[in-house]
């Protein structure tokens, strides 16, 4: 029986319900003097919310009535080993850190660390090349964006670049 349940479909139904019952009432403000329902700020998100629920139900039904139907959520992008999960968690850690560390260290130094972190995660077979690119690339991009494109690249609190 469980192989007939499309968790993906049910997930979308749940998400659609969340949009309709929680997200729209909490996060969409509609003035009281809206003359017609179709002009209200909530109208369009509500339509989309119902659309998501409908498609989720359709996905679930197709799975349920299909004898050996394939649920795309079963697709495997590779072996789900503990190491793979750890690497993925590490990459998410690098991303999160990058957002919070950039204002403190500056974009160039943070980018160098992020490059090194990702290279370590995938165990780069070319460590020397990775190290060189990790240093040169953020500096080169800083040069382009700061001096050619006129972008105020964050410098951080410690080392300021010209």
């Amino acid at each position: 029986m469980t192989e007939r349940i499309s968790w993906l479909g049910l997930g979308f139904v749940a998400f659609g319900l969340f949009v309709l019952l929680a997200a729209i009432p909490y996060a969409v403000t509609s003035p009281s003097n809206v003359p017609k329902l179709v002009l209200a700020p909530t109208f369009w998100p509500t339509i989309v919310g119902w659309l998501i629920i409908g498609l989720g139900v359709l996905l679930t039904l197709l799975r349920f009535f299909g004898a050996a139907a394939h649920d795309p959520a079963d697709d495997d992008a590779g072996p789900a080993s503990a190491a793979a999960w750890l690497r993925l968690a590490g990459a998410l850690g690098v991303m999160t850190a990058l957002v919070y560390v950039t204002p403190v260290l500056g974009m160039v130094w943070t980018a160098m660390l992020a490059f090194a972190g990702l290279s370590l995660l995938v165990r780069s077979s070319r460590p020397v090349m990775s190290a060189v690119v990790a240093i040169v690339l953020p500096l080169a991009l800083y040069g382009f964006f700061a001096h050619v494109a006129g972008v105020a690249v964050p410098q951080g609190d410690f080392v300021q670049l010209p």
């Binding site: 499309s6 993906l8 949009v19 996060a27 969409v28 403000t29 509609s30 003035p31 003359p35 017609k36 329902l37 179709v38 002009l39 700020p41 369009w44 998100p45 998501i52 996905l59 197709l62 799975r63 009535f65 299909g66 004898a67 050996a68 139907a69 394939h70 795309p72 959520a73 697709d75 992008a77 590779g78 072996p79 690497r87 993925l88 990459a91 998410l92 990058l98 957002v99 204002p103 974009m107 992020a114 490059f115 990702l118 290279s119 995938v122 165990r123 780069s124 077979s125 070319r126 990775s130 990790a134 690339l137 953020p138 991009l141 964006f145 494109a149 972008v151 105020a152 690249v153 964050p154």
Partner: protein
Amino acid sequence: MNPLDAIALALPLVLNVESFLALFTGIVVGVIAGAIPGMSATMAVALALPFTFALQPITGILLLLGVYKGGIFGGSIPAILIKTPGTPASSATVLDGYPMAENGQAGKALGMALYASCTADLMSNMALILFAGWLASFALSFGPPEFFTLILFSLTIIAGVSGKNLVLGLISAALGLLLATVGLDLVYGTNRFNLNDPNLMGGLNFIAVLIGLFAIPEILAYVWRPEETRGNIRALGAQHVTFGEYRKCLPTILRGGVIGVVLGSIPGIGAAPAAFLSYSEARRNSKNKDNFGKGEIEGVAASEAGNNGVCGATLIPLLALGVPGDVITAIIIGAFMIHGLQPGPMMFIANVDIIYALFLGLIVSSIMLLGVGSVAIRFFRYIAEIPRPVLLPTVFILCVYGVYAVNNNVFDIGVMFATGLLGYFMLRASIPPAPFLIAFILGPLLEDNFRQAMLMSGGSGEILFRSPITWVFWGLTAITIATLIRRGLKRGKAAEPGLDALE
């Protein structure tokens, strides 16, 4: 303004070092990115976009168009040499290109791919020049109800060609529509999902969403499974395409170019179906039918003409109607907007010099592609040997700088990562990202035109059926939906029931 006056205005915009350099750089970057398996033309255009902010609008857009054209051709190089299409558009090229390479005729296959690409590209550009202006003048009479029905029709077509599974494509589009509603309401100025955060009041940054959706999931997928996937690179061989062979394949190339132009001008079809249709038509009409799939040079010519014939034609709906023809032109529409230009019929009046400068630049790009492509073929070995453990962190850093540069805001980097996570989930769940992005772009246009129509009519839905144009688009939408359902049911009966029925 007559076309000659427009050309006179456009010439100074194109005939300068910056424009030529931008086109050349774009084509080089595109060919290299297209030739690297795992990189795609889409990703290359997305990554190149932030580098155009500092350029003049026409220079920046020409650079992106160069990346687009170069990327589509570049995908054929690994398709022929290592049996790995660099872009989905080159999948049909593998069928005869790789067998030719195995027979020691890689040089001949690549040469034909290049000549067919450039010829079809030129045809596509001419079609753009001929038809875009005509379509735009027709679209000048469109009001909000007509645009609403046109965009609705475009969305149904896009959903119909959104990959293996229609329902998942529709879900992807629905998620894109939902995220597009984030930000201040345009009519009442009230909050919509922006949680009173000033960073979200203008909506989610388009570039951050785009790069998050197309580049970050590839990086996460590699982190999940860091394996080198490099094929055995075939030698070019001594043989080259002769003029006689090109002349013999010319009818096939012209047919493929026409197929590319027709399919490319319909929003949502894209280059890969055009390449396969062109290939199957070439096979049907060829005297060497039996040799197709075993190393037939006509097969390479057909598939490359089909996929490159799309490039200029996808710009017809973009420039004339403001509707992107495929996912890459959806990115290019973002470039127009960033440079303060709104593609659509009004652009043919307000910015006719830029339109004609683009036309001229596109013709120049076809000639440049010929030169750059010939060199790229010889240097492919070096391009293919860029190690992925270095390439993907490089892409990651390019994403970070590029997204930051849009608004000088670290918050946008966070949006990119969040969208990247969503994109990775979609990748794992086989949900195609292209409908998401196109719906994200078309969603606000759809809603704005709908609400404007409702304001005009005082909330009456009758206005959406006010003219023959709206009836035509409603009819086309109904036909598209009926065709999709019918095709799904037919496949369902022929194959396994269930989800596959709507594939």
